[in-house]
Every structure is written in structure tokens, then in C-alpha cells.
Amino acid sequence: MSITRRDFLKIGAVTAGALAASAPAIKSVMALGKKPVSLPQYIPTTCEMCFWRCGVIAKVVDGKVVKLDGNPLHPNSRGKLCARGHGGIGLLYDPDRLKTPLINTGARGEAKFKKASWDEALGYVADKMQKIKEKYGAESIALLTHGTISTYFMHLLQAYGSPNFAMPSFALCRGARGVAFEVTFGEDVGNPERLDLQNSKAIVLIGSHLGENAHNSQCQEFAEAIGKGATLIVVDPRFSTAAGKAKYWLPIKPATDLALLLAWCNVIINEGLYDKDYVARYTTGFNEVVQAVKEYTPDWAEKETDIPASIIVETARVLGKNKPSVLIHPGRHTSWYGDNVQRQRAVAILTALLGAYGRPGGIYLNPKKKFEPVFLSEEDYPDHKPALNKGNYPFAGEEGVTHAIVKATLTEEPYPIKAWFTTGTNIMKAMPNQRDTLKAVQKLDLLVAVDMMPYDGVMLADVVLPECTYLERHDDFFVVKERALGISIRQPVVQPMYDTKPGWWIAKELGKRLGLERYFSWNTFEEFLKHKAEVWGIDYSELAKNGYINFPESEKPYIQPGEDFKFKTPSGKIELYSKELKEHGFDPVPKYTKHEQPPEGWFRLIYGRAPVHTFSRTTNNPSLWELMEENVAWINAKVAKRKGLKNGDYIVLVNQDGVKSNKVRAKVTERIRPDCIYMVHGFGSTSKMLRKAYLRGADDQQLITRYAIDPISGTVGMRVNFVKVTKEV
């Protein structure tokens, strides 16, 4: 409270007089208080404040969005929104939004922007693209992309003749999990993940910090499970919010998760706690797993993980007792170390041993319904040189591998990359080793950024094309694979502000200038959506009115007892032992690999999320910035005491390569191991055009100069950097 008792006495003295004097004025105010009230409109759409894609209902009064709420019909929101979802208004009305196309008049990356018309900006881009195509081939134009805008720009680039696109969501995020689950179960675990949390009796979170990671329906089900008394086991070097709910918090030594997982398998097999019928019926390779995990005893794992053997045994028994309603959370951002796929394979194997895949409280099955694909165009894409976007990783996903693009740009092998399109991707914050990124950027003949805000990566661009926000545009339908399948629509709730345009419009208009009109044969995107709805037999007007259409008959969440269920693997079974991996020269059953630990005086840098932000994307959003203006560096209280650090002191972190962070406040806490420093990812923006976020907090990605690539999938391990703490002077 800001007023003191003395102030209060003063105020009291003044108010006694003010009271009598103000009485007539009050009457007149009341008489004037009858303004005609505008009726609000409620328009459903799909959120883009993160990538969970909840159903939103926007309340619009006099053309202004005043409130965003969750759509009760949409299974990802269930009538609720997270903080970011409610804060979408802050993005729409952020005064720092990109408002017009911009062309850099200075050197590459100097951000000496002049305003340009769309015609001028698109003409400039098309002209450069033609020159690059003539000299190097269209394949030399690469796309780094994320989110719904990817649809249009992947189409544009492929129509122009380049297959070279990459999404950070694979190599820098979910990729390893996807590969591991595909190899084991024949399919990824989905996005949103098909987790039957609300029915789980035991839940294991390994690094996942639900609550701080505020994926809407997942958090709802997580709380539901807690409310019903599920036993929660949280494996995390940090006492996360979720750990605060847990019966067992296992503050594991970072980089040793695989040891714990293998030891759990060891106990569950040795004590006969696995689901024998399920394993016999649905899996292959059990005996090989038995042999492989023999050496991974709880006593061995204690030395690796710092978790007492007795606790490893006790928690394994909790899992065994509650099978099959056990959820070993497969995680989402799984790009930690160089053995990401093998660690995720261990999660998959443990899930299978407990009989939890396709069972209540485990991982539910994909809904049984498919729509025939409706393409943006019926035209075939032209032939091209072999794609380089997957690097030399046999299990790299269709989303491509970002560092394969960076590497090819730097080395010009197997052929040069001379232009980057970055759409919905902050290349400075998403990708590790910013020095490589900046070096690669200098080798380009063209760098185009399409985005809503002047993020760090946007500031490097030659041409900036401002996309309008999700509240101002149509996008492609979202096919939602929850327990039942459904379709969600994104449609404008207000008209685009400033001179901003939807992603589809930008791609189409650029296409026109490249002679690709025939690939964009629709006039508006709504026209395309109506066509798609017709092919799919959906009532478009109903979808536009309700925001969501559900197909309840598609729901088949569980394998029935005794059912002859076929998995989509080569053997039709869950492949505990993977022939596919073996054929490519990788361990068919995970083997523990030891990772380097920080030397004395150094800390491992770990990073994660806050419930009110989505990476760097929201750090300037006034509604969310208010709740968290900057990140802090978590440091163990005893370590801090030794270093003479107090809570709130500014510190600077220096990594093993001598890179220094921006100053950041220390959060002195008992809630973290002494060998780690933790930060929320996405802060420390270097973009001066983000007036709220500029130089607020520190950038974890800046300190991630070193990374370990998983040879199976090409996913990037980013938790391999060590930092020293220095006190700000």
C-alpha cells in the first residue's frame, strides 16, 4: 500500500470539507449518465497466442475487441482461456505493432527502415527472388517458418521451386518425441498431445512444468487429476509449480533423465510390475529390453541421478500399482541433449510396459475420421534439386531441420542458400548460436521477414511485411484431434488495423508478381475455406457461427480388453526393440550415455516457460508485459549466500564461450539445485522497436552457443551450456 497513516489523516481532514461541496456535482453526473449502450457482438475464432489453438469468443463493442473468452464448444479451451489467451487484446492494440511494409536502407541487419507501399515492398522482393532464381536456382531460397502462416509460404516457395523449408517446432522442440513415438507406436503422440490426464492415477512429469507451461486443456486435465488425488511424480532440477503439487519431487541431476527412466524399467521388469497381458499381446522385443536394462539398477542410477535408489524403487512401484492409468508425460520441448530420441524412446518403452498406450489415464488413441486433403491449388509443383532441409539425419521430420538451412547457408554445400524468408519465426530467439545465425544472414542476397511485431529477427530483414494479427484474419481450418475430431475456424473479429495484411494475401500477392497466379486461384481465403467446407461436407455458416464443429462418432479413445489392435509400425506391434533404428545403425533399445557435467564454479543453464508469455512473441504485449516485465535468473539460496548475492540483485551470466548476458535480476531461491541456473526463455530483446521488451531481462538463447545434435533425428540439444555468475558492477 502506498499511502501512510499520516497521509490518511491528511486525506481525512480534506474529505470532510470536500463532501458537502461535491454533493450537487454528483447529481449532475448522475443525470448525464444515460448514454446509449452499444450491443456487444460475440464472434468465435481460433487463438494464436500460443500453438495450442484454443477456441476463442471475442466480445466486440463498437468495432473494438473488449474481451476474449474460451469457446465452450472447443475441446482445447472448454470455455476457458489461459492468461495469454485473455491477453490477446494486448497484441491487437500494441502500439509497437508493425504497421506498414518496411525496406532497410542501411547495411544488412542495420534496421534503417523506410516505410514502403505494399506494391513497392512486394516488387522489391519479387525482383530479388527472380535474380536469385536465375543465378542459383529457386532452391536457393529457404523458408524458416512457424504457425499458420507456414501454409501459404510453404505453398508459395514450393510453387516457385524450392523445397527448403524448416520449422523450429521440429528440431528445436517436439521433434525427438515425435520420432521416438513413431518408431515405437507407429504414430506421434499428437499436438495437442493425446494425454488422458483427467483419468490418470499416477502422473510423471520429466521437466514438463504444467501450470507454468499453460497449455489450456492440458492444464485443466492436470488440475482435474490432482483434484481427484492422482499421485504426481515430478522429475525436475527445479521445484516447479507442478513440483509443489507432487507427492514425489525428484530433483534430478540434469542430463541424467535416461538413467532414471532405464532404472524404472529395470525395477518394473524385475518386480514383475509390468502389464504382462498387454506386453505379450501388443509388443515385440520385450526380451531384448529385459536384457538391455539389466545393468541399470536403482543403485547404479542413484550415482548418476542423485536420486536415492529407495525412491527410485518406491516410485517405480507407484507406477506399477497404478498401471495402466499412468501417464509418463512425453514432454513437448524435448531438444535437450544429443540423445533426445533415445531418452524419448525410454519414455515410450516405459509407457508400453505399463500398458498405458490406448488405455484410460494413459495416452488415448487418435480419433477415427479423416478428411480428404484439399490443396491450396491443384497445380503440381515444379521439379527441383534434392532438398537440403533435412540434413543427413535419417529420421528428420517433414517439418525440416532449421540448422540444416543455417549450415547450408554458411557452407554453400550441397548448394548455396541465398535468400531466407522468415515467417512467424524469431530466428534470433528460436535458434541456438546467434553468431552462426548472424554470419549466415550476412551471406544472403535477400532476407524477408513476415510478422506482426518487430522482433529481433525481423530487425535483421531487408524487407519487412506486416501481417495482421489472428484477430484480424482468416486462416486455414484447424483439424483438431482431441478425443473426437473437430474443425475449428479462424476468422476476423475486427478489420485489419494499419496497413497490415493477412498471411494468405501476402503470399498470393507475391505469387502474382512471380508469375504464379495459377497457384492462387481463389480471390479471398474465405472463398477457399467455403470450397473446402463443401468438399468436406461441413456447413460453413454453422462453423462461422459456432467456431467449432465436433464429430463425436470419431471418438475411440481406448483399446478394448482383448482387442486385436494393430499399431502402425512395420510389425503391427509396439516396437520395444526397434529394427528400424538398428537398420540405420542406432541402438535398438536405449543405452545410457553420460553427458558432461558443469565444472566446479559453473552452472548448467536450463530454461523454461512462464504462464503469461509465449517465448519472445509476447514479451512486448502490454497486457502480459504488465504481469511479467522481465525474466529472472533462479539461483540456489546457499550458492547465492556464498557469492554474496541477494534476491533482486542484478547479475550477468557468462557462458563457456565467453558470451555475456544482458543484466538480469537474481531470484535467490531454495527451489533449484545448486548446479543449475534457470531462466524463462524469450527475454532480453535487442529490438529497439519493442519499446517495452527492449533489453528487459536476459536472453537464454544468446548463451546457448553450444549445442548437441541428435544423430537420429537432427534435433538440437540446447541444455549443454554452462554459465558463470558475475555480479553487476
Binding site: 476457458k80 492468461a83 546457499k638
Partner: protein, 185 residues
Amino acid sequence: MPRYVMVIDVERCIGCMACVITCKKENDVPAEHYRTRVVEEVRGEFPHLRMELRSELCNHCENAPCIDACPTRASYRAKDGTVQIDKIKCIGCKACILACPYDARYSHPKGYADKCTFCEHRIKEGKKPACVETCLGKSRIFGDLDEPNSEVAELLKKYDASVRLEFAGTKPRVFYIKKKFAGGM
């Protein structure tokens, strides 16, 4: 007449902060001010830790010091038992802000005292308060305590409830329940 109360199941709060921001948007709360907050309390030493997340807001006390402190009757008890502020009658003296032992009120830049209304405008339309509506954990439960079958009545029958600063004698209508203990390793 109803007797509106809020029950907060602290176990189910996952600290997502959705309540804080939906409240701000729903009620057009100005920058740097809040009508509700989530307080985090951690006890113990690494690795033996406990944490509690506690949503705080106006308690709509039966024995409300803010009403007593108000010189203009701007702070008043509404017919539904909630404590409300008549912005027009409020002269901005801040007496209520000091009188509230829960730090639940703030001075609105437009000159009046402001606080949680239990979203009375929504209750009138048969909706729940915005924070309750969006609470991802269903940690906030709202209803009429005089309705014997209401969820709040059921919960308060079943679980021991506590209120903030019980010794202050304010008789809050925001109740906290803890179904079970949770702690670290």
C-alpha cells in the same frame, strides 16, 4: 436473498494467472492495479520444500471494515450480501483502502476506490465471475451458500475451510479449502 461466497480449492490452483488477467479485461482494471492476485508461498530448504498458491481478492466480509470506514456510504452491502462501491458517491478519500486488512482495494486513477465486485454484472446475467469462469484448475468455485445443494455449500460441508486473518473478525466470504497435503521429496 442469496449469500454469495467463493471457495478456493488451493490444491487445484496451478498458478496459470488466467484469473488475474481475465479480471483485468472483464472489469477494465487500469494498468498496474489488480482486483485479484495469486500469492505463492514456499517453505523449507532444498530439497524439502512445500509450496502453496493462494488466490486473493476482496473477501466480501460480513463484518466489513471498509463499509464502516467509508464517510459517504459509497462502500455498501448490496442486497445479495456482497460488498460494493458506488463510484459516484466515492470521494476518493482512501479510508476504505487503509481499513481493509486484506489489501484488496486500490485507488482508481479516476479518483474512486475500486475492488473485486464478484463480477456482479455477470452474476445478474446468471454467469459466474470472470475469474471463476476461466479458472483452468477449477480452483475457484462460486455460488450461493444458502442454496444447500450448491457446489460451494457441498464443499464447505465436506472440507474444513479457513479464511484469511480469521482473528480480524471480519467474517470473510472467501473460503480456502485444502483437500490433502502435498509436499516435496
